[in-house]
């Protein structure tokens, strides 16, 4: 432990500082300083992402625990983006929750989720990853259900149920994965290296894909996302949709074996991702609240990322994970900014609404990949490995869908703004400034990172071919949107969580099973049954043993 370098310390601080702050928040006088808590907590993470050299790793606790922190390129990209969003959303939350009596509790959940999200991007050993993943998953429950409405409670229940389920799948996968290594707690890298040779590789991959796919909102495990993201307070939604879902992304990046082609599984993931990308758009279009539209957009975008990762798995292309992380980074900031926009619009006097809508439109178009925006860079980056085939076409078409969905978002935002009762001169600076900074960063920052991450020159982006490839989906999307929205559409709003209604038979089955267990238990708790069972048990035990001790064929 001796001789920690400055870089090591920065990595540690990224996770420890928010945890210590959360612990300190037990004391009421600390809890009251929400502003300090929320603004200080993400800073070490930001510092680590920027200042720590890539490849740095620190063994925090030696073997057999092997708690290890390490920074690699995908981790750094996501960590940096997350830290920025946490900072902006935190600043926003300080103002947003100013009059909320329960803001102290909210900030504790916030800090725990933040620590967990940083840890997921940083830890390098299997057990710590599981811990970090559980921390971010369960703490996010507190953010989502902060408003404690009926809808929030339902969303919380669904979220928890799926989270617990996902944890069970992942622990099964991790245990099988670690079986190939002699270390009790291997590094993720070492464990994954043994995956192709594992006798259970199919089962492990399936469990990983379902477990992480659930967090990313892949169809049909996306049901919790529109519920949870829409009911949280605005800054909460921003980090849930922006950052928490990326825990699933980093999971797939870390645990899918890079460089080994797995055609079937890759194709499967690609298909699931593409389907989800369109499905999210389709359901999102029917929504009547901008936050739910955004949540479905997240479903759709994570489908795109999953499809990209699927291509990587299919072809064994080892560069894909970094590109997916870059796409995730872009989505992180954009989606965060768009959620904050909803809050700003709601607080905005009607006459000042237009600039807000313009920003929202730029953010939306960036998400769709409009050239000269950050989003175009992300789309370009992932188009490379996907290629120009059917998958490439579908990916482009999904951008069309995104454009239409974003148009819907801006229109709904206008309604929200128009219906807002805000009076006074302008939006409070506490909301406006973080929002504006984040929006600018979302559109601009990808330019700064692009070359470093992809190793491609920016100039390539401005070739005519690329511009056209980037422009036509957006243009087509806008055209379609114009057609659809000429008059207010008559979509029937699909209830958030859509196919969750299909789970009703499942719930009934559970009820029956539970009632059956209760009935069985009532029967077994009668003295007569239990006494008979006790004696029978003794006899059966004796019989079983006798069967082994005196095999029939050896009987005289």
């Amino acid at each position: 432990m001796a001789g920690l370098s400055a870089s090591d310390l920065m990595l540690l601080a990224a996770v420890l500082v928010p945890l210590v702050l959360a612990l300190a928040a037990i004391k009421p006088f600390v809890r009251r300083r929400v502003d300090v808590l929320l603004l200080v907590a993400p800073l070490p993470g930001l510092l680590a992402a920027v200042a720590v050299p890539l490849g740095q790793s620190v063994l925090v606790v030696p073997s057999p625990f092997r708690l290890t922190f390490a920074l690699d390129l995908p981790g750094a990209v996501l960590l940096g983006g997350a830290a920025l969003l946490w900072l902006a959303a935190g600043a926003y939350a300080v103002c947003y929750l100013r009059s909320d009596p329960a803001r102290g509790a909210f900030s504790v959940w916030w800090l725990l989720t933040l620590a967990g999200s940083f840890a997921v991007f940083l830890v390098a050993d299997v057990a710590s990853f599981y811990l970090a993943y559980a921390l971010v998953s369960f703490s996010a429950f507190g953010l989502a259900t902060h408003d404690d409405t009926v809808a929030a409670r339902r969303a919380g229940r669904v979220y928890l149920a799926l989270t617990v389920f996902g944890e069970a799948l992942l622990i099964a996968a991790f245990v099988m994965l670690a079986a190939s290594v002699t270390e009790p707690n291997p590094l993720i890298r070492d464990a994954v290296a043994g995956l192709p040779a594992s006798p259970w590789r199919g089962a492990i991959l399936a469990l990983l894909l379902v477990g992480f796919g659930m967090k990313m909102g892949l169809f049909p495990l996306h049901v919790w996302m529109p519920l949870a993201h829409a009911v949280a307070p605005v800054p909460g939604s921003a980090v849930l949709s922006g950052i928490v879902v990326k825990a699933g992304l980093i999971g797939l990046i870390r645990f899918l074996p890079a460089g080994t082609p797995w055609f079937d599984w890759g194709a499967g993931l690609l298909a699931a991702g593409l389907f989800t990308a369109f499905y999210g758009v389709a359901i999102g279009l029917t929504q009547r609240h901008p936050k739910r539209v955004l949540a479905y957009s997240t479903v759709s975008q994570m489908g795109v990322v999953a499809a990209v990762l699927g291509v990587g798995l299919k072809t064994g292309d080892a560069t894909v994970p970094v590109l997916a992380a870059f796409y995730g980074f872009n989505h992180m900031l954009l989606k965060g900014a768009m959620f904050l926009t909803v809050g700003v619009a709601a607080a905005c006097p009607r006459r000042r609404l237009v600039p807000v809508l313009v920003v929202a439109a730029v953010l939306g178009l960036s998400l769709a990949g409009l050239p000269f925006t950050g989003g175009a860079l992300a789309k370009f980056a992932v188009k490379e490995p996907v290629g120009d085939g059917l998958a490439g076409l579908l990916l482009a078409l999904s951008a069309v869908g995104t454009t239409v969905l974003m148009a819907r978002y801006v229109l709904l935002l206008a309604d929200v703004g128009a219906g807002a009762t805000a009076t006074g001169g302008s939006v409070a600076p506490g909301l406006r400034v973080p929002w504006a900074v984040l929006s600018a960063a979302a559109v601009g920052l990808p330019f700064a990172l692009f070359t470093a991450v992809t190793g491609t020159s920016l100039a390539l982006l401005f070739s005519l071919d690329t511009l056209i490839k980037g422009l036509w989906p957006v243009a087509l999307g806008l055209g379609v949107a114009a057609l659809i929205y000429q008059k207010p559409p008559k979509f029937v709003e699909v209830p958030a969580g859509d196919i969750l209604v299909a789970a009703a038979p499942l719930a009934r089955l559970y009820q029956h099973v539970r009632d059956g267990a209760v009935l069985l238990d009532t029967l077994l708790r009668r003295w007569s049954t239990a006494a008979l069972a006790l004696v029978l048990l003794a006899l059966v035990l004796g019989y079983v043993m006798a069967g082994v001790a005196f095999p029939p064929h050896s009987a005289p």
Binding site: D515, T522, R525, R526, W527, S528, A531
Partner: protein
């Protein structure tokens, strides 16, 4: 057949009767009695074992004898505690306003649907 074998078999029979009584006993007294029968049977088997172990100048192995004496006292303690509980239970059930025995029994057994165990908090 020698006496130890005969009484060993009697011990087995007494144990079986005790086990049967414990299974079919409807009230606590029946169960306590059956428990004592089973105990008597177990001790008797032990007595047969002791008698078979006669030797070295002793008519029976003294160790099992000592253990049976201990066992009888322990069984008595159990009986005393069980009877005290039985009497307290009966007193509580006989109290005006207490749930009658039948209902309390039914509550412990459950009927249809979602009957929950336990009683009032």
């Amino acid at each position: 057949m020698s006496a130890p074998v005969l009484f060993g078999l009697l011990g087995a029979a007494l144990s079986a009767v005790g086990v049967y009584g414990l299974m079919v006993g409807r009230d606590a007294l029946a169960r306590i009695l059956a428990f004592n029968l089973l105990g008597g049977g177990v001790f008797l088997v032990f007595g047969a074992v002791a008698r078979r172990g006669a030797g070295a100048g002793f008519a029976a192995d003294p160790v099992p004898q000592a253990l049976v004496i201990t066992g009888i006292v322990v069984a008595f303690s159990a009986t005393a505690l069980a009877v005290a509980l039985l009497k307290r239970l009966a007193a509580l059930r006989a109290r005006p306003g207490a749930a009658p025995a039948k209902v309390a029994g039914a509550q412990a057994e459950g009927t249809k649907g979602r009957v929950q165990p336990g009683g009032d908090a």
